[in-house]
Symmetry: C2
Subunit: 233 residues, 2 copies
């Protein structure tokens, strides 16, 4: 069959980028990165970073290119989420969007707006503004996916600084899962998996008693997974 | 931005259809539905049922239409799997494919080949032939997804007859998960969730002592999920 025998939809990628912010008083907040659109349709509205797939790049490459162009983000955790293809989702005509979600270590990355975006800004997931297109639905699905996956895959470490305290780790899980965790059970479970390396370093700049820092041992995790190990928090 | 300012990839859907076959001696086999291609490229090779998305239909609609046209399948469990977009995956040019997986009750459905397919046939997942395009990769991912999901969602019931014995249920899980389950623990767990209705009917046409038939209570499951219940086998 001739590929051009009938009209093709336009193909885009859109990225839900999550970052975890911790303020001075240790309040934790899951943020999502939004872009103020500079062009019609929805000029001036907030939307997910994204754009059209080039004819010679893979879908993953398109998503990474858009994150770099629109927000200056490089080398982040990125995974395909779902493809949105309702016929009326874009007022310009048929646009199918392959959605991705990304996890960003806010301590490592500075976000800047570029190209056709007016500005890039982090919003708390729970206090995001109205979004262009069907982007609200995409963010909702990404958040559900994150909540479902974080318990069974060590995704959460992608959101924390490379060195973290056990309290920071617990607050991250509590915030994403939206429920409190018992401190003793949590520590027993997480330390029992033997995936954390206790560092010879303590937390800096805290008024109370400084806590030990840990890092996630990714190489060890990968070895264990090959032997059938299941991560579970 | 003008949607037609640059070339668009063609957009297709491909479906991995699983069906569970049980022979007279109670051997269970997970099958995948393949289509013998009638047209180039890969004429004569086996491939997944699928085809191009029409400009005015949603992705789900395209997948359901192709299952009806190519295999005579209607009203089956269908879920989006992943979108495959490597630039070189189709020799005709850029074709991006949104893959789905479907679960079919073989007792309810007869499969027939139609339109541009020479024939439709079930193959054991473990003994499938070489496939056209990147369809081997798509089947592998669908099987992984099924193995991962079947423990935490009552998907398995979509593969069994409406009325089944506890032995049939256990064999289905053992076959998909590729490991034996302890009969006593399995029954305790599955009956403990209180999702099965014991019927006033026994298995027919068996030489040994007939076993009781059960059905899955989907309405009850949906009510429990709303209250935070987690299915787990």
């Amino acid at each position: 069959m001739d590929l051009d025998a009938y009209p093709h939809p336009a193909l885009a990628v859109d990225c839900v980028v999550f970052g975890l912010e911790t303020d001075k008083s240790h309040e934790t907040c899951l943020n999502v990165l939004l872009i103020e659109r500079g062009l019609e349709p929805f000029a001036g509205a907030w939307a997910l970073p994204g754009g059209f797939v080039h004819i010679d790049e893979s879908l993953d490459e398109a998503a990474r290119r858009e994150l770099a162009e629109e927000a200056g983000l490089h080398d982040v955790f990125l995974e395909q989420l779902y493809t949105f293809g309702a016929p009326e989702r874009d007022p310009r005509g048929r646009v199918v969007s392959v959605a991705y979600y990304a996890l960003v270590r806010l301590s490592d990355h500075h976000v800047r707006a570029a190209t056709d975006a007016r500005q890039a800004r982090w919003f708390p997931v729970s206090q995001r503004p109205d979004l262009a297109f069907d982007h609200r639905q995409i963010v909702d699905l990404a958040y559900q996916r994150l909540q479902a996956k974080v318990r069974y895959q060590p995704l959460g470490f992608e959101l924390l600084p490379q060195k973290f305290t056990l309290s920071q780790l617990q607050r991250m899980y509590e915030h994403i899962l939206e429920r409190p965790l018992d401190k003793r059970n949590f520590r027993k479970k997480i330390l029992g998996m033997d995936l954390l390396v206790a560092l010879d370093e303590m937390q800096q700049g805290v008024a109370h008693r400084a806590a030990r820092l840990y890092r996630f041992d990714e190489q060890r995790y990968n070895r264990l997974v090959q032997r059938g190990f299941n991560f579970e928090v």
